[in-house]
């Protein structure tokens, strides 16, 4: 390896040693940031396979333009482009969503006490997703990766952050469908009507309450 002209002072071997040390610091910093960002993905893959993929991701020049806490923003998409399989990509997206929930701005979550007693007021109540919340289909591999075996049989896992700490909740089918309807802000009445197409009346309110109790919703803006 040829040194860049007369740039550095001192013995060439020491210069190379120092450059290698800097390179190692930089590489180590990036790899550790990815390990810290994708803990479930690492658990699912195992350390050796995870290290191989993260090294390849870095060598592809991805995530290097921003700070370390954002180095993994393109990792799930890259895994998908590499043909790593839908299940693994889903776990990586889960990890990224968990990280984003941590970093998300504080926002007041809708609570049960916010729901009006008056039926008309309740039906007109505008609802929206809380900015920190996200839902992820619960596959066996994700279940293993997040180490929550008691949640098998549930439809999805919900990430929320209604106060300071990030939380995980298992979601039933109806609650997961309610979350899907809330991709756009709707009123309470519109949400009930949508859910009523595929679910019994008895399942609708409990599904909405499930989301409220998890801190997944906020008050929407009035039309």
């Amino acid at each position: 390896m040829a040194l860049p002209g007369a740039l550095f002072a001192g013995d060439a071997r020491r210069i190379l040693l120092a450059m290698a040390a800097h390179a190692n610091t930089i590489s180590h910093g990036r790899l550790v940031a990815l390990e810290d960002s994708f803990t479930a993905t690492r658990r699912a893959l195992g350390e050796a396979a995870f290290n191989q993929l993260t090294r390849a991701y870095i060598e592809a020049g991805l995530g290097l333009d921003g700070q370390l806490n954002d180095i993994g923003h393109a990792f799930p998409d890259w895994l998908e482009a590499q043909g790593q399989g839908a299940a693994l990509v889903a776990i990586a997206r889960f990890d990224l969503a968990f990280l984003r929930a941590h970093h998300c701005r504080d926002a007041a979550a809708l609570t049960l006490s916010d729901l009006p007693d008056d039926a008309d007021a309740l039906m007109a109540l505008p609802l929206a997703r809380h900015p920190a919340a996200s839902a992820h289909a619960l596959t066996p591999i994700l279940l293993d990766a997040i180490e929550q075996p008691d949640w098998s049989g549930k439809a999805a896992i919900l990430i929320t952050r209604p106060d300071v700490a990030v939380r995980l909740f298992p979601l039933g089918v109806a609650a997961h469908d309610a979350w899907g309807v809330l991709a756009e802000p709707v009123t309470f009445a519109e949400l009930c009507a949508n859910l009523g197409v595929t679910h019994d009346d008895a399942a609708i309110i409990p599904a909405i309450i499930e989301l409220v109790r998890a801190g997944a919703l906020q008050l929407g803006t009035q039309p």
């Binding site: 007369a6 002072a9 001192g10 071997r13 700070q67 806490n69 952050r161 300071v164 990030v166």
Partner: protein, 304 residues
């Protein structure tokens, strides 16, 4: 001109420690203890978010103790100027949480398209001085306060430097009004790696410029071409560092001093005990003895 910073608590000329997540509760619970840190340092990049657990704890700690914001991401030495996204985040954080001191490094970490998680050396030539001065000026204007710049630990030196590092620092401070965060461990690391004279270096640093001191440990790798010191902040402060520090404080008087530990972080009481050693050095100065202290501030009241 009165700035916002004038209304924020100054760092006391006592010992502080880095604020670590595993110590949040212990620190707040221990504030009435006889042996405790008198201020804390954060890396603000760890708090560049709009909410969440870490911001919650930082705000509680900042209510109780002065906080020094030791930035690692402005890349003051980059040819393209400081990282503006980082500067914007830093300004937002300072608006929300009072900073008793703000600092970054005499180094560079990014180009236009890539960020390197390391503090890379700059040459000590006029062009670098002009670039650093412009960047420091830009940061001070944006934050409406004087900042400190930290002397780097170096594994590489450039050929054709116009000045030794202390001279470069003095010129930078004169050009911008910034101060120096004097990292004594970095001087010891540079001495091992590029052969500077640590005592001569410290003799050349005017104490008037020094707003803060860092003490830390480092690792040493043995190679065929000699030892290589790695500034990993992963061990206790070495005895050479303590000796240089004690001598410098004896001449300079008390200066806020941080025990810097970022890797293999020990138990809280171990860190606090190390800070207490620095506190004893600070309290042994003539300025400390002459100062009329209240009962809660008296050095002897903080001894175990």
């Amino acid at each position: 001109m009165t700035t916002l910073a004038d209304h924020v608590r100054a760092l006391p000329p006592r010992a502080g420690i880095g604020l670590k997540p595993q110590h949040y509760a212990l620190m707040l619970d221990g504030l009435s203890d006889a042996v405790r840190p008198f201020w804390v340092e954060i890396h603000p990049q760890n708090y560049f978010r709009d909410g969440g657990v870490s911001r919650h704890w930082l705000e509680r700690v900042a209510d109780a103790l002065p906080v020094s914001f030791h930035s690692t991401g402005l890349s003051l030495g980059s040819a393209g100027g400081p990282d503006m996204a980082q500067l914007d985040w830093l300004a937002r954080l300072i608006d929300a949480v009072p900073a008793s001191s703000v600092s970054d490094h005499i180094s560079w970490s990014r180009t236009a398209h890539e960020y390197f998680p390391d503090l890379l050396p700059i040459p000590y030539i006029q062009a670098s001085l002009d670039q650093m001065a412009a960047s420091v000026g830009q940061v001070q204007d944006r934050l409406k306060r004087r900042i400190l710049v930290e002397n780097p630990s170096r594994m590489l030196a450039y050929q054709g430097d116009s000045w030794e590092e202390p001279e470069f620092i003095a010129r930078l401070c004169a050009a911008t009004g910034c101060g120096l965060l004097l990292d004594i461990n970095n001087i010891v690391v540079s001495a091992t790696n590029i052969g500077i004279d640590p005592q001569a270096y410290l003799d050349a640093i005017d104490p008037v410029l020094v707003g803060e001191i860092h003490l830390a440990g480092h690792a040493v790798e043995q190679h065929d071409v000699g030892p290589l010191a790695i500034d990993d902040h992963g061990s206790a402060v070495g005895e050479i560092c303590w000796a240089l520090y004690t001598d410098y404080i004896g001449r300079a008087g008390p200066i806020p001093t941080l025990i810097e530990r970022d890797n293999d972080v020990p138990a809280y009481d171990v860190l606090v005990a190390e800070a207490q050693r620095a506190d004893h050095v600070l309290c042994a100065t003539k300025e400390c003895a002459d100062h009329v202290l209240t009962a809660t501030e008296h050095c002897l009241a903080s001894a175990a």
